[in-house]
């Protein structure tokens, strides 16, 4: 803590005497003078209302329901809402009046707070990025929210957020911060600063493809499951049953129908989510900075200094690989929303165009050298691990079909009354289908292990570590040697017997770190690689 403060005090940007005041009004150096756009009043008020309504909606709803939706109680609730809205409006105006910001003396100042005054000062050297976000309300007024983030910033909250600035004011603030930052680092960079050049824009067709092939269908599916739980609570069992039976007479068909519908719904939800988040995704480069713009309703703009990018991952999802498509992610220090969360650099592009794309966006990470394969003795470990991972699934499938069968659920098998479709009369026993079939799941698992082995590879090329591995999606990670924070060689007794080891390198990412792993490379190769990746090593 102390050392950090010492560094901050010693930087040239932190000393107000060394630079002329950038405050045009000539007011005292540390007095922030600029106000937010008046739309901030409304936005602040709406935020307050949303918070209160969010807290009150469940008790309020319960109250309404218990009173049987009488007109008088409805009016009472409405009046309550109006009072909340009025108070929020007053609060919004007061908050707007209390908020001022400005750049002066080599630092960004933000003063806010109605009751408790709060003044925040961020030295410009510490500013990591100036992002703009445009929510639905902000778009109505043609204003943007500006977020100033620092390298050591908290995980979720931006370090300073200005809820409404006009485009011009936001641009002026960004220029002010970036120009002074460049001045303090070096004069050369300032000349390079130019109009951002668009590197790539996501076409609408690609956007839809990205949604349709995103792996988020799982997330969406769980969401559907949660919603259906709530749905279950709200509606009585009988009415649901009546609806279902009217559509599908047999219970098996009903189950299949529901599963198919839920799957389709989840898929559409996944597409919708991608469209919302990534519509109009544009990556542009401005000298040493990458700018990302995206979003349908809420427009987000983010800035990543290229010098902060620690590693690039090329992710080829299972649904995308057959079409030769990939997504790009970056691990960036002190930037991701959470520790270890990587940021999407570009959501979808053809795999063969990745190299050109990286050459334009972040040349340090471009290149596609041939990878060293793993030694063939590693194959059995990959297959073994995959099979072991599938074993619980086999047990579960077997158990479900057994119990379900004997409990009289509509699972294919032989019952006391005779055999249906899919029966397997084994000796004198009546055996459900699933028990005999479940071990067959091990075959695809073994195949998956073999595929993982085939796909894994590594190399050291141009002072960069390339590592490829498959966890469903095929991921190729590029990390420059000088970005590696630590390297480990880890070996279990089984690996040592086969002269294998796992190489694990860590890079900074978000608040914490991210890992680059190569599992089961030869132990000698691992030893050499870990040395060559060190400060004394060379390419």
């Amino acid at each position: 803590m102390n050392s950090e403060n010492g560094v901050a005090g010693g930087t040239p940007g932190g000393d107000p005497d060394e630079r002329p005041s950038e405050n045009p009004q000539g007011s005292p150096v540390n007095e922030p003078s600029l106000r937010l756009h008046p739309a901030a009043m409304l936005i602040g008020a709406l935020k307050t209302v949303r918070r209160w309504v969010g807290a009150l909606v469940i008790p309020g709803g319960a109250f309404l329901a218990s009173q049987g939706f009488q007109v008088r109680t409805m009016l009472l609730v409405l009046a309550g809402l109006l009072v909340v809205a009025a108070l929020a409006a007053v609060w919004g105006v007061l908050a707007w009046r209390a908020t001022t910001y400005g750049v002066s003396g080599g630092a960004f100042h933000l003063r806010q707070g109605v009751v408790q005054k709060n003044e925040r000062t961020i030295p410009l050297d510490h500013v990591q990025s100036v992002d703009t976000v445009q929510g639905v309300i902000q778009r109505l007024f043609g204003v943007v929210e500006v977020r100033v983030e620092t390298a050591g910033g908290g995980a979720n909250e931006p370090d300073a957020s200005l809820s409404a600035l006009s485009r011009d004011a936001a641009g002026a603030l960004r220029r002010q911060i970036e120009v002074s930052r460049r001045e303090s680092s070096s004069a050369e960079e300032e000349e390079e600063a130019s109009v951002p050049a668009v590197v790539r824009r996501l076409a609408t067709r690609d956007l839809l493809i990205a949604g349709a092939t995103s792996g988020q269908i799982g997330v969406a599916l769980s969401l559907v499951a949660v919603v259906s739980q709530v749905f279950d609570e709200l509606f009585s069992q009988e009415s649901v049953e009546r609806v279902v039976t009217s559509f599908a007479p047999s219970s098996v068909t009903a189950v299949l129908l529901v599963v198919a519908a839920a799957g389709l719904f989840a898929w559409l939800l996944a597409i919708g989510g991608t469209v919302l988040a990534h519509a109009g995704f544009t990556l542009s480069r401005d000298g040493d900075y990458l700018h990302i713009r995206r979003g349908l309703l809420e427009r987000r703009e983010a800035t990543i200094p290229i010098s902060r990018v620690q590693a690039v991952r090329v992710v080829e999802g299972v649904l995308r690989q057959p079409f030769g498509l990939a997504a790009l992610r970056v691990e960036s220090a002190g930037y991701g929303e959470n520790a270890g969360v990587s940021t999407i650099l570009f959501p979808l592009l053809p795999r063969r165009e990745v190299d050109d794309f990286l050459r334009a966006a972040a040349p340090e990470f471009a290149g596609e050298p041939a990878l060293e394969p793993l030694p063939s003795r590693a194959l059995r470990r990959y297959v073994f691990r995959a099979v072991l991972g599938a074993l619980p699934l086999v047990v579960v499938v077997g158990a479900i079909s057994t119990f379900g069968f004997y409990a009289g659920l509509p699972i294919p098998g032989c019952g006391p009354g005779g055999c249906e479709f899919g029966t397997v009369p084994l000796f004198a026993f009546e055996v459900p289908f699933g028990v005999l079939l479940s071990p067959l799941l091990l075959a695809p698992a073994a195949l998956y292990g073999w595929l993982q082995f085939q796909d894994a590879g590594w190399t050291l090329s141009g002072d960069r570590l390339f590592a490829r591995s498959r966890v469903l999606a095929l991921t190729t990670t590029v990390a420059p040697r000088r970005r590696l924070q630590s390297r480990s060689v880890i070996s279990s007794p089984f690996q040592r017997r086969l002269r294998l080891a796992t190489l694990q390198a860590r890079v900074a990412s978000g608040g914490g770190g991210a890992e680059v792993r190569v599992v089961d490379l030869g132990s000698n190769a691992a030893g050499t690689l870990v040395e060559r990746l060190g400060p004394g090593g060379s390419s």
Binding site: A333, Q485, V507, A508, G527, G534, P535
Partner: protein, 159 residues
Amino acid sequence: MKDEPSERLDPRARTLWRIVGALNALPLLAGGVAGSWALIRLAETPFLLGMLPVVLAVALLVLLVVVGPALRWRRWRYEIREDEVDLQRGIVWVARTLVPLARIQHVDTRSGPLQRRFGLATVVFYTAAGANQIPELSAPVAAGVRDRIAELTRFQDEL
């Protein structure tokens, strides 16, 4: 890869780990005794079978108190080289970790109440991707290691 790191942890580390292991194993032992008592008295299982939980708990205790600390101490080695910190640790999974001094942001020593009784301390050093530590060095050695890392870090060229 270069030879094993040269330095070992303080020998008193084993005693400390044994005490910590014993403290951790106590609830385990209590659970084992309770399980056996319940099996023999309440469920009326045969005596030998009923003793199984106690036996398992005692075996785990021996592992935690006798075998574990000895193996762990034997494996743990470290070395502060001129450009990197070299660590080796792990009983079953042996991990060898190299941390370039140029990546180290700051160094701490810390010692808990039990560690202080033994005159031991832990050196923790932080990189942008998380912390690493060298546990259970005698306090003066730990202070020396901390200062050495801090000193060497200052002279590292940014790669």
